[in-house]
Subunit: 624 residues, 2 copies
C-alpha cells in the first residue's frame, strides 16, 4: 500500500505553505565573483563602489596647450598675453595636465610668437577644456546598489571606476529528472508506445528565462529505488530539483513517496486546472517539485511555483508580468473546485482585443505555441460570460500581438505557406490563422474578430461557390470576396484503395473520418450526401470530427479510419491514395474595413507571387 | 595631408545611405543548424514542419482496458456486456492501443467476471479515453514559420513533432577594435595619462542584447599601418567591424582613411549630438563603423545605426522600443544643426512622469547609468519648453521606473547606503536619488516631482536648522519634516593641513573648491562668510562648483584645490585631514501626500534600523 493522497489545496494557500517551508530551509543565493565584461544581466549581491575616480587625473578635453589660467588673465584682443615655453605645455585630448596647470587653450586659439612663445588674445577661465578628476565618477561613490541587474552602461561605469570584478548572485541550478517506463529521449523515429520526453527541454528553457540553470538527468524508470537514488544524486548536485511525471496518486506515481522519505511533502495536489497533481516539498534542505506529466499542466505549476521560488532565491520582487485587457469572445464555464488556466488567442482587428479560448487538453503543447495569452478563471467563479472584459497575461509582446494579420476560417496548408512567405520576405507582420471552418470565417468577420478568412462553400441550389453565402450573410455589404485558388477535393483512402471507395454511397461500408461542423469540406460532404440520398446515420464515423485536412489524413494513415474527404496535398503528404471528386473555389473573404489594409494588400501580393506559385506546384492539387 | 572631412548628414539620410550600401553588399544572415533544446531565442531561417505526428500512435489516456467500442454497444446497468480475454487488453496511460481497439475503459469501470473475463455496465464511445494519432500535432503540419523566435513552448512542439534539429539564422559576429595611444585595458590602478578602455565591453553587451556576438581585438596604437592591418584581420574573421575612437577628423583620426583604402566611406559625420563624428562604410563587402571615443556619443551611434544593421542582417522588422509620455521638467535648448539626444531622469511621484535632463557631457558614462530614458529633440526644433508633453524612449522597464522612491535633494552618501539597504532587504522598490542641493529639495517637493528629499539648511537669523525654511516655503503645509541624522561639517584639507586652514578667513589664502548654489553646504558657507565678513571675491575658487561631497574631496586629493567644506566621511574616504566646524541637522522633507506612503515608511524604518546604524558607525561623523 502506498500512502499517496491527493489534496486540493487552494493556490494561495499552497504557495504560502511551500514558500514558507522553502524559506525555513534557508533557500537563498550564494555569492560568486564575475568579471565585469561577462556580467551582463547578472544581479549584484552587494553594492559596487568606485575604486578610482574617472577621470583619475586632470585630462585635457582638447588638443591645445595647458596653462595656468591666472597667467592668461587680462589677455584680450588689444592686450594679448605672451607665454614663454616654460609657461605652457602642448597637450592632446586625454593627456594629463602638468602640475600647476588648470586650463587648456584650444590649438585654434594659439598664435605662435617666435622663440617657442605663444600669443593669446583671450584669457582662459580656470578648468576650461579640462576633464577634472572625478568629473564622471568619484572614488568611493556607490555606482550601483545591491540587487541591481547589470546593464551595458553599468559595465562601462564599473570599468571606468576601476572595478574589474564584482560580487553577483550565483544562478540557481535546477536538477531535472524525467521519469517513466515509456519515455524516450527526443527522436524523429520513436517506436510505437514510446513517448518522446520533451518536457525537460521546455522547463530548462523556462528556467533560463528566469535566470536559472538546469541540469537534466537521464530518464529514470518507474521504480521506487531508482527514483529515490536519482533524487538523492540531484539533491547533492543542485540547488533544487524537479521530478517530471509521477506526481499524481496512481500506481506508478512515486514522487510524493520518495520526497517524503528524504524530507517533507508540504503540498500534494493544488486546486488548479490544469496542474492539480503537483508535489511540492523540501528534501535535504532543498526545494523539490514533482510536476505533472502533461506539458500544459506542468507549465502552469512552473509558472505558479517555480518562478516565485526563483524570485525568492534571488530575494528580488516578483518579476513583472505583461498583461492586457481583452473582451472574452465566448462564454467559458469553470469548476468551483479549481482555479482554471485557459490558453487564449487574441484577435480583434482594430485596437480592441478579443480573447478566444483555444481548444486542446493539457497534453496539447501545440496549443501553447498558438496561444497569445493565458486567461485565469478564479476558483470562486463558475465561469465568464461572452463579452466580459478580462485581464490576460501576455505570452508574447503586445506589439507582436497587434502586428498580426488575423486569418480565421477554413484550413488549408497554403495559409501556413503564405504566413511563411510573409515572414521570409520581412513583411513586418505575422499571419495568425485559426481553423474554424468556412462558416467560422463568416462569423468572425461579422463579429469584427478577424481581418479576413478563407471560405469554400458550395451552394447546393445554384452549384456555385461562395458568392451566394456572401450575399446571404452580408446583405448590406461589410465584406469583400477576393479570388483565391482552385483546389481538388476528394476521398483520401489507404494506399491501393483496398475498400474500393469511389462514391458517397461507398462510405456506408467503411469507417469514415469527418471534418467539424462549419468546415467547408463538411458542407461539401453534406451536400453530396443529400444529393445522393445518403443519411448521416448510415456512415460509421460521421461523428468522428477533425479540424484539419492533415488530421483527417493522419487518422486514415494510422488505420483509425478508411476514408475521409479532403485535399490532395494532405493525401500526398501521408502517402494516401486520392480519389478526386470536384474542383472547388477556395476564396478569401475580407472585412470591408480592412480591404485596403497594408497587411491584407501584402497578403494578396504574396498570393500572386512567383514564390507562392512555386510552392503550390510542389504541394500539388492547386490552381491560381 | 589627410583627406578627412567631417560632414553633417541628417540622420535619416545617413541611415538610408549606409543601410543602402550595406544591402548592396549583400549583408545578410547565413544558416546554421541548432539542436532544438539549445535553440531558445534563436530565429528560424526556414519553416519547421512536423516529421511525425504527436501522439504518433493511438495512446491510452487512462489506466484501464482497450476494447473495440462496437463490442460494448448495448451495455447498460441492466444489460451488462461480458468481454472474454481475447476481446480486451489491459493498458496503462500512454500505452499503444492494440490493432482493432478504438476505445479505453477506465479501470474503475471494469468488473472482473471470472476466467479473466470482464463485465461492463456501460458502452464505450468510439475513441473515448484515447489520444488519437495527431491529436496534438500532425505530421507535415507547419509548426512555425520562418523568422519565428524559438520559445520554450516551441521547443516542446518541435521535439513532440520529431524535430530534433532546426535551421536558424547564425548570429552575426562583430569585430571590435579599440584604438588609441593612451588607451589601456581595464585596471584598478591606471597610471596618470592612461585611459581605461571600457567601450568595447559596453558595446559587446549592447550587441548581445540585439542577438549579435562580439570579438574584441587587442588595443591598436594610433598608427595608420597598424590600424589598417587590424581592420583587415577583423574583416576576414567577422561579419562586421566596429572601430572605436579615431572617427573624427583630427590629427590621429585614421578610421575614415583606412576604411576608404579597403572599401568606401558612405557617411562621415552625422547631424546628431552626441555622436556626430561617426564613420559609416563598407569594406571588403562588410559593414564597418567608426565610433566616436566618448561613450555616450558612441552609444547613440550604436542605437541609430548598429541596431538597425542587425535587424537588416536578420531580415526582421525593427525591434520594438518601449516609450512613455512625460512632461518636460525644464526648458531645453537645442541646435538646429543637430538632432539631439538627452539622457533624462523620470520622476514625478503619482502616475504622471516628469522628464528631467541629466547633466554631464558625452564622456560621462555614469549619466547613462542614472538615466531612465532618452529624450530626442528633432533637428528642426530649437528646443522644448518646460511643461511640454514629450515621448521618451525607456531605458528601463516602466514598472521599474514607477517602483521608485524619489529622493531629490542634498547629497550625502547615506542616501546611497539607505538605497542599498532597501535593495538588500528586498523592499520591492528602488531609491532614486539626485543631487540638487537642499534648496532643490524644496523646489522638487513644491513641484510634486519627488516623494522626499534631504535638507540641511541653517537659518542665519535664528541659528536653527531646516524648520524656518519649511515654515517659509510651505506656509500652508504640504510638506512634513522628519528627523534625520546629525553630521559634522568641516574643512577638508590635504593631509597634515599644510596651509594651516582653521577659519573662514583662512580661505582667502588658498584655492577653494565650492559646492553648487542651493546646496545646504553652500548655504552654510555663505552664512559663515557673512558672519565673518569675508566677501566671495576674496576667495580663489569660490566659483569652482562641485555637486557632491566626494567630488570636493576628489578635487582636493588631486591637488586641484586646497580646501573645501564638506562632511567627515568624504574626507576620510580620500585620506584628507578634516577640521570640524559645526554639527548640522540633516533632515528629510516629505511631500505631505506621501507621508504615509509604504515606500516612505520603509525608508524611515531602514533609517532607524540596526543595519543602518552599523553602517553609519563605519562611515564616521554621524549621529542618529
Amino acid at each position: 500500500m502506498k500512502h499517496n493522497y491527493l489534496n486540493n489545496t487552494p493556490l494561495e494557500q499552497a504557495q504560502e505553505i511551500f514558500f514558507g517551508a522553502v524559506a525555513e530551509s534557508g533557500f537563498s543565493y550564494t555569492e560568486e565573483t564575475a568579471r565585469v565584461p561577462d556580467a551582463l544581466g547578472r544581479s549584484l549581491s552587494r553594492a559596487v563602489y568606485a575604486v578610482i575616480s574617472s577621470p583619475h587625473y586632470n585630462a585635457s578635453a582638447m588638443d591645445g596647450i595647458a596653462v595656468k589660467a591666472a597667467d592668461t588673465f587680462g589677455a584680450a584682443e588689444r592686450t594679448p598675453v605672451i607665454l614663454t615655453p616654460s609657461r605652457y605645455t602642448v597637450v592632446d585630448t586625454g593627456d594629463p595636465l602638468p602640475d600647476g596647470a588648470d586650463a587648456v587653450i584650444m590649438v585654434e586659439d594659439v598664435i605662435e610668437a617666435g622663440d617657442g612663445s605663444v600669443k593669446l588674445y583671450a584669457a582662459a577661465a580656470p578648468w576650461q577644456h579640462v576633464r577634472q578628476v572625478g568629473e564622471d565618477i568619484c572614488m568611493g561613490d556607490m555606482i550601483a546598489p545591491t540587487n541591481t541587474v547589470v546593464t551595458p552602461a553599468l559595465i562601462g561605469a564599473f570599468l571606468a571606476g576601476g572595478v574589474t570584478e564584482i560580487a553577483v548572485k550565483k544562478r540557481p541550478l535546477f536538477g531535472i529528472i524525467p521519469t517513466g517506463d515509456e519515455i524516450v529521449p527526443p527522436t524523429s523515429a520513436p517506436e510505437k508506445g514510446e513517448i518522446i520526453e520533451f518536457n525537460s527541454a521546455v522547463f530548462a528553457a523556462m528556467l533560463a528565462g528566469w535566470d536559472a540553470d538546469a541540469k537534466t538527468y537521464p530518464i529514470v524508470k518507474d521504480k521506487k529505488e531508482l527514483l529515490s537514488a536519482a533524487l538523492e544524486t540531484a539533491l547533492a548536485e543542485c540547488d533544487a530539483v524537479l521530478v517530471l511525471a509521477g506526481s499524481s496518486a496512481g500506481r506508478d506515481d512515486y514522487t510524493a513517496e520518495i520526497v517524503s522519505a528524504l524530507g517533507k511533502v508540504t503540498v500534494h495536489g493544488v486546486a488548479i486546472r490544469p496542474g492539480k497533481p503537483a508535489v511540492l516539498g523540501v528534501a535535504k534542505g532543498k526545494p523539490v517539485a514533482g510536476l505533472p506529466g502533461y506539458p500544459v499542466s506542468a507549465i502552469v505549476v512552473m509558472e505558479e511555483f517555480i518562478k516565485g521560488l526563483i524570485d525568492r532565491y534571488y530575494k528580488r520582487p516578483p518579476q513583472p508580468e505583461a498583461t492586457a485587457q481583452a473582451v472574452l469572445g465566448r462564454r467559458v464555464t469553470s469548476s468551483l473546485k479549481y482555479r482554471e488556466y485557459l490558453r487564449v488567442s487574441l484577435g480583434g482587428a482594430g485596437g480592441k482585443l478579443t480573447a478566444t479560448p483555444l481548444p486542446g487538453g493539457a497534453g496539447v503543447i501545440s496549443s501553447l505555441t498558438k496561444a497569445d495569452a493565458i486567461l485565469t478563471v478564479e476558483q470562486d467563479a463558475e465561469g465568464l460570460e461572452a463579452g466580459e472584459s478580462v485581464s490576460v497575461r501576455l505570452l508574447r509582446d503586445r506589439r507582436d500581438v497587434e502586428n498580426a494579420l488575423i486569418v480565421t476560417g477554413s484550413h488549408d496548408p497554403i495559409i501556413d505557406e503564405l504566413a511563411d512567405l510573409a515572414q521570409r520576405q520581412g513583411c513586418g507582420f505575422r499571419v495568425k490563422s485559426s481553423h474554424v471552418g468556412s462558416m467560422g470565417t463568416i462569423a468572425a468577420i461579422r463579429a469584427g474578430q478577424a481581418h479576413m478568412g478563407a471560405i469554400h462553400l458550395l451552394d447546393g441550389d445554384t452549384g456555385t461557390y461562395n458568392v451566394p453565402y456572401v450575399e446571404k450573410y452580408f446583405p448590406e455589404g461589410g465584406a469583400v470576396l477576393f479570388k483565391g485558388v482552385k483546389r481538388v477535393q476528394g476521398f483520401m483512402v489507404a494506399p491501393g484503395n483496398p475498400l474500393g471507395i469511389r462514391t458517397i454511397a461507398d462510405l456506408t461500408r467503411c469507417r469514415y473520418v469527418n471534418r467539424q461542423r462549419g468546415a467547408g469540406t463538411r458542407v461539401l460532404l453534406d451536400h453530396l450526401m443529400e444529393r445522393d440520398g445518403v443519411m448521416p446515420d448510415r456512415i460509421d464515423g460521421y461523428a468522428n470530427e477533425k479540424f484539419t485536412h492533415t488530421a483527417v489524413a493522419a487518422s486514415i494513415a494510422a488505420g483509425n479510419a478508411d476514408a475521409g474527404l479532403g485535399i490532395w496535398s494532405a493525401a500526398k503528404m501521408y502517402g494516401l491514395d486520392f480519389i478526386p471528386l470536384c474542383d472547388e473555389e477556395y476564396d478569401f473573404l475580407v472585412n470591408e474595413t480592412y480591404a485596403d489594409h497594408p497587411f491584407v494588400r501584402a497578403f494578396f501580393e504574396l498570393l500572386h507571387s512567383d514564390a507562392f506559385a512555386k510552392r503550390l506546384t510542389e504541394m500539388g492539387g492547386y490552381k491560381i
